[in-house]
């Protein structure tokens, strides 16, 4: 008997030590957020590179890719996004019944939410491609950006199959608890946020109007008008604000069934049409230039684990660990854009990562709550088992309560330690804006946020310009642009 207890204690101690050591070397969420919000990301980049070198996880790759992107390192960012995608594709190609998933499921069911490996929520997988498209865009590779947008569309279709079936299965099998966020435990900090109308009003947890609207812009530049039209209509279906963006950017196209050929500008460096009948056509240079502004502000919420006390029939009150966005989204300052004579260019907020994150959490809440209860019960069961074994043995009878308590303590500490690996893509911005308009050739466009302001004079020879503005802090606004 004593050997049994010794073995168990040894295992618990060694693995607890191992987990706490292993997880501690990741860059903590607090430090990531503080660095981004201060606008100083050089040190963070180095640390994230070291972390990713060591762990090679999807979440480390995504965080690294986004921070590199904020810093204007487009090619390096694209490489990190590709690594994240390779990890995701490896995960998706695993056998239907695989040992890693079983082990992860057992760990999540019995011990800690942290046993579940991160492979991104639906909206994160989709945004992986949307943000990578921006890298290709800023590198001047429009076909590359278009390929990423097509991947974004594919990813959403795959997620629909993966998540919808799972959600429906949960709804069929589970008892009718947590029908609405108001039914969640009183002490759970996410209760009010999940009840918010903006969260519950989303069409689903993975489609965002921003990705589709940006997709329409990029596919149009790539000359794929049909796909651009589909993306435009999807964006407008998802969000009324997308309709206002297209009315502003492409007034001729937004009202009709499809885009018109004359709205498509030639690609960067593209010569006159290769296939044209004899007799040259001269194109009149328009007096205006296209301006598209992509803006990001704030910071997405960060996922963690929250302990909540709930009442369970027969058992009484138990403490369960539920996933929660323990660090809320940072909305950021208002981004402003203006053209000649300070005439304001309306920026349309089409992306809200906080709403997508909260909606994803709500959609998985029933399963999460079920797992949390089972974890609490299994931990209590193991501790009770240890207590009963100790009690039944004359040598350990006097210490049975201590052994039971210690076992519970070890299990709680181990679970708590593992909880630190519950992460999300925490370097995402909270809000994404799009604006599109035409300004006189060679005009000046101003981007402002908080106390920062940057001016760009449009090169006269360009057909148009795409400006990427990221507000990292009130005093730190990064603005890049590419012309076509």
């Amino acid at each position: 008997m004593a050997r049994c207890i010794t073995a168990t204690t040894f295992l618990v101690c060694s693995l607890f030590a191992g987990f706490s050591g292993g997880c501690a070397s990741r860059v903590p969420t607090d430090e990531i957020r503080a660095a981004i919000l201060s606008g100083e990301v050089d040190d963070l980049e180095k640390r994230l590179e070291e972390t990713h070198e060591e762990y090679s996880e999807m979440v480390t790759a995504l965080n690294l890719a986004r921070v590199r992107q904020m810093d204007g390192r487009w090619a390096d960012s694209a490489r990190a996004f590709d690594e994240a995608l390779a990890i995701l594709e490896e995960y998706e190609s695993r056998a239907l019944v695989n040992i890693r998933a079983l082990a992860s499921g057992a760990g999540t069911f019995l011990l800690s939410r942290g046993a579940e490996s991160y492979f991104g929520a639906g909206y994160e997988r989709s945004l992986l491609h949307t943000f990578n498209a921006l890298n290709y865009l800023m590198l001047g590779d429009i076909p590359g950006a278009a390929a990423e947008i097509r991947r974004m569309e594919q990813r959403q279709a795959f997620w629909l199959e993966e998540s919808q079936a799972r959600i429906e299965k949960i709804l069929e099998n589970k008892e009718k608890v947590y029908d609405s966020p108001e039914e969640l435990p009183q002490g759970y900090s996410m209760r009010e946020i999940l009840s918010d109308e903006a969260v519950r009003g989303l069409v689903n947890n993975y489609q965002d109007a921003f990705s589709y609207a940006l997709g329409a812009v990029l596919l149009r530049l790539a000359g794929d008008l049909q796909a651009a039209g589909v993306n435009m209509r999807r964006a407008m279906t998802l969000d009324d604000k997308a309709g206002r963006f297209f009315e502003q950017a492409w007034p001729a196209a937004a009202g009709g069934a499809s885009l018109k050929r004359r709205d498509v500008p030639p690609l960067p460096g593209k010569r006159p049409d290769a296939v044209s009948p004899a007799g040259k056509r001269t194109r009149k240079r328009p007096d205006t230039q296209e301006v598209t502004i992509i803006g990001f502000t704030g910071l997405a919420p960060s996922l963690g684990v929250e302990n909540v006390r709930i009442w369970v029939p027969v058992v009484g009150h138990i403490l369960i660990d539920l996933p929660a966005y323990t660090q809320r989204a940072v909305p950021g300052s208002t981004l402003l854009a203006s053209g000649p004579a300070r005439k304001q260019i309306a920026l349309h907020p089409l992306l809200r990562t906080d709403l997508l994150a909260y909606r994803t959490l709500w959609d998985s809440m029933r399963a999460e709550a079920g797992f949390a209860v089972s974890r609490a019960v299994s931990r209590a069961g193991i501790a009770a088992g240890a207590y009963l074994v100790a009690k039944s043995n004359s040598a350990t009878r006097d210490y049975a309560e201590i052994i039971g308590s210690l076992t519970m303590l070890f299990l709680d500490l181990t679970a708590q330690s593992m909880s630190s690996s519950v992460r999300n893509w925490e370097t995402l911005p909270n809000t994404g804006y799009l604006a599109g308009t035409r300004v006189p050739r060679g005009a000046e466009v101003t981007i402002a946020s908080g106390g920062s302001e940057q001016r760009i004079i449009l090169p006269e020879e360009a057909q148009g310009i795409i400006i990427l503005a990221t507000e990292m802090s009130a005093a730190n606004l990064k603005v890049y642009h590419v012309t076509y």
């Binding site: 010794t6 040894f10 997880c23 996880e57 056998a95 695989n98 760990g107 011990l111 296939v275 009948p277």
Partner: protein, 205 residues
């Protein structure tokens, strides 16, 4: 160190599960220091993933080149036609270097000795730069050959990707066109279709 009791066994099982999965689970995406490098036959069939690969590039170039060489516009031409390669546009959801396709086709066509190629978009700038250097010795008007294209080649690559829980299917369609730039007439067109299927095993690591 035996685990005789169910409670102890359960703890061990759960902790084993944690070991496998905690902190993100097994590492992926890296070649270990023990990995080895070997040379393989470049013509060997490549089936690492369903993504566009070397075998697709080779079979596409081979198939379309043979078709083009067999067309009467090339085969029965009285003199070697002068061709310029234009863009093969990528409409897939992959980052396919379509220049790789056209380069391979140009090499195979040139090897046949039946056609002549003019500088294309990629090396036209270099040609003009070289010409500017010798501008004093050569008048631009004398360089009629560069603009005297008999045909241009254009094309597209498209894909359709489908996936279920167990099966992944991707279909590629690569099409090329030979066009007379003076009349705008498309004199030849052909396509290469590729379909790849992948199935997930039922049980695995």
């Amino acid at each position: 160190m035996t685990l005789k009791h169910p409670a102890a066994a359960l703890v061990a099982l759960a902790l084993f599960a944690m070991q496998l999965t905690a902190c993100g689970g097994p590492r992926t995406g890296r070649v270990s220091g023990d990995g080895e490098v070997v040379y393989e036959d470049p013509q060997a069939e490549e089936t690492v993933t369903t993504h566009w690969g070397s075998t697709d590039l080779q079979t596409t170039a081979e198939s379309l080149t043979q078709s083009l060489l067999a067309s009467r516009w090339i085969k029965d031409a009285s003199a070697q036609p002068k061709i310029r390669l234009r863009e093969v546009r990528n409409f897939t959801d992959e980052h396919i270097d379509t220049k790789g396709i056209t380069d391979k086709i140009r090499i195979m066509l040139l090897r046949s000795g039946l056609v002549r190629f003019l500088a294309d978009d990629a090396n036209l700038d270099a040609v003009f730069a070289e010409r500017d250097l010798t501008e004093t010795a050569t008048r631009r008007g004398a360089n009629k050959l560069l603009a005297d294209t008999d045909y241009i080649i254009t094309g597209t690559v498209r894909s359709i990707r489908k996936r279920t829980k167990t099966v992944g299917d991707v279909y590629y369609q690569v099409s090329l066109e030979l066009t007379d730039p003076q009349s705008g007439e498309i004199v030849w067109a052909d396509e290469k279709e590729i379909r790849k299927l992948t199935t997930k095993p039922t049980i695995g690591w």
